[in-house]
Amino acid sequence: MGLDTFLQAVVSGLIEGSVIAVGAVGLTLSYGVTRFINFAYGEFLTYGAYLTVFLAGGLFGVSLPLPAAAVVATVVVGALGVAVSRTFFEPISDRGALPLLITSIGVSFILRNLLQGWVGVDARQLPIPLLRRQDYFGLFRLTHLELGVIAASVVTMLTIHLLLQRTMLGKRMRATSGNRSLAKTAGIDTTSVIRQTWFLSAAAGALAGVLYAVLFSPFRPGVGFEYLIVIFAATLLGGIGRPYGAMLGAFCIGLAMNFGSTYLSANYTRAYAFLILVGVLLLKPEGIRGGEF
């Protein structure tokens, strides 16, 4: 195992980190304004991936090109996120984090089993071509699709950065995250901000699901729930509720999983993420980026 193996592990880590980053940012955005950990978040990934498969595969009578199917699925799941929030979480939003957390576990079961009841547990995959990895500068290899996943992730990160820093919604979100009652007193419609955040969060989850499905096929309805632990690890590593920390944490987790698989044992890929999660909780519960939203 020489330099090429090392570089390949770095590249693979960055690719997987790209998927985790989109998912982690979505999760952390919703935590920032709602202040509870949403265990149903994994289902947004699953619904994103499955909806894209069906939209691209012509299940609803139209067969969209994959990018268009991904965009439509992302928007639909974003709307689903708002619907889920209004139905299950808003009515109990003043009862503290624990009832919300428990409810989110229940919502996760409901969404997952609804999907299973509808489409079964058969493995599915996106209609994408299988490509051989191309050599880049003689140093590492990756496919055009993997390159596309990194690009999509970077664009998503930049969009979220601009949204948070340059738009009124971003400012309202940051204000609501910092102090909800103060934001409300200042005239911000926090309920509306929370709904918009739910939309963004679920949409980011759906996009992460699509990117996951591009890289790791075939998949089953449990895919999002199983991947949630990895996203949690990244979110906590970055400091929960902090989008930039989540991005950083995601790439750390992606790299750790791939280095562990390459140099220790490939049988424990997700265990490395779990180890980091435990380590962070023990040693630095505020995350590596203990700063602001």
Binding site: V121, D122, R132, T143, F216, S217, P218, T262, A266
Partner: protein, 438 residues
């Protein structure tokens, strides 16, 4: 079959089909998700004096297709037995025990079959749960014929109460090594350097040692033997590790889903060697989930059609019968022929015990299992003919659809293997391996 099959189906088919597939809604050809449900329902009714056959298999979960493939065949033979007046005047009923392909569920399903249902014989289980339940079955003196468990863990445990109508993985592993080494069986080349990638479950691990030791015996080299965790999202690292050992061919022993991921990871990483897969993947399910550029020239092991049954038309006759009976779209489903042989032997063994005025106890039936399938007695190929011969005082030798069904001292059979090669999304036969070649 000597019974007038069409008349028999007219009489029993309609109602029996409904009961046979009740609770097994999947099409069960290996690509079913197995959510058949209803795994613990009694499918054929019986009274207190009836004999009970327990079908101990996964009816739900990812391996639910196994139960869905086996149960209709058991019911079809049971209906044939009952049409002949049952055994010793007692009707035969069937009870399902859903193992869910999980050792825990298998243990409770077995306890229920043995202690609550008081089954007189068991068809099943699979390799996945064999280790978990074999002690209970043997200690309770329950005769078992499994059409589905090739596991090597049974190699030295069978012969008294446990028998099987499917080849041991010891033989299957040997067949893979032999076929890989010898171009006359694989039609491509004499492969010398071989890697192994083996899923970390008993059902897969069972193949590992037979392949490895046989390959050495046949003059090959094992470049690496990797145990892989099943159900992972990606196997890029494992494939990279396998490729670093520079094999000419890699034997892949894993589930269809993992095999798709692994072969695709090999393609993406420009792996230039070939793949050899086991019975679990040598099916349309595997090829339809992968692209042809990945699977072309992949070699697969499969049970070969038994020449004698094929030339006599018995295989086609069975496929037609079970297709009509179960409402399947095709008769040649995995384990269907093995089940037909298992249930016929079970029925004939019970008939033999009854005819010799013995009690239908576990030990007596288990003793008779070998007796009714051992030459050189009168050869029979179905229950009705066998029962008639037994009633007229003859000893019988059941000859099956998968092979001559002559159990050795460990309750194992030998059967021929077929080596398949994938070409443009279809499996075609590259060569045939008779048992004597192994």
């Amino acid at each position: 079959m000597e019974v007038d099959r069409r008349a028999f189906l007219r009489r029993t088919g309609g109602a029996a089909t409904v009961t046979a597939i009740a609770g097994c809604t999947g099409d069960g050809d290996g690509d079913d998700d197995g959510d058949g449900g209803g795994g613990d329902n009694t499918t054929t009714g019986g009274d207190d004096s009836s004999l009970t056959i327990g079908v101990l298999l996964p009816f739900s979960g990812n391996y639910g297709w196994v139960g869905a493939n086996v149960l209709p065949v058991v019911n079809m033979v049971v209906d044939e037995i009952n049409e002949q007046g049952g055994i010793d005047g007692r009707q035969v009923s069937v009870v399902q025990g859903d193992t869910e392909a999980s050792p825990d569920a298998a243990v409770s399903a077995t306890d229920r079959l043995v202690n609550v249902e008081n089954v007189d014989g068991v068809i099943g289980p699979t390799s996945i749960t064999m280790s978990a339940v074999i002690d209970t079955l043997i200690e309770n003196e329950v005769p078992v014929i499994t059409p589905t468990a090739g596991t090597t863990s049974l190699d030295d445990r069978g012969g008294d109460y446990v028998f099987r109508t499917v080849s041991s993985d010891s033989l299957g592993g040997r067949a893979i090594a032999k076929a890989a080494r010898d171009q006359q069986y694989n039609s491509l080349e004499d492969y010398e350097r071989m890697a192994l990638m083996v899923g970390n479950k008993e059902v897969f691990q069972s193949f590992k040692e037979p392949v490895r030791s046989s390959l050495k015996e046949f003059g090959g080299t094992v470049t690496t033997a990797l145990d892989i965790r099943t159900g992972k999202a990606s196997y890029s690292s494992e494939v990279q590790q396998m490729m670093e050992s520079d094999p000419e061919i890699c034997v892949l022993i894993a589930s269809v889903e993992d095999s798709v991921k692994i072969t695709e990871a090999g393609y993406q990483a420009s792996y230039e060697g070939n793949w050899f897969v086991t019975q679990d993947q040598t099916n349309q399910d595997f090829l339809s989930q992968s692209e042809n550029q990945v699977t072309n020239d992949v070699l697969g092991l499969n049970a070969a059609a038994y020449q004698s049954a094929q030339s006599a038309g018995r295989l086609d006759e069975f496929f037609e019968a079970i297709t009509d009976y179960a409402g399947w779209d095709k008769g040649a489903k995995i384990f269907a022929t093995n089940t037909y042989d298992a249930m016929n032997v079970m029925g004939l063994a019970m008939k033999q015990v009854a005819a010799s005025s013995g009690d239908l106890t576990g030990p007596n039936v288990a003793d008779a299992i070998s007796t009714v399938a051992t030459p050189p007695e009168e050869t029979v190929t179905a229950y009705t003919a066998g029962a008639s011969a037994i009633e007229s005082g003859s000893d019988v030798d059941y000859e099956g659809l998968v092979g001559p069904i002559n159990f050795d001292e460990n309750g194992d059979i030998v059967a021929p293997f077929s080596i398949k090669i994938a070409q443009d999304g279809e499996w075609t036969e590259a060569g045939r391996l008779p048992p004597e070649a192994l």
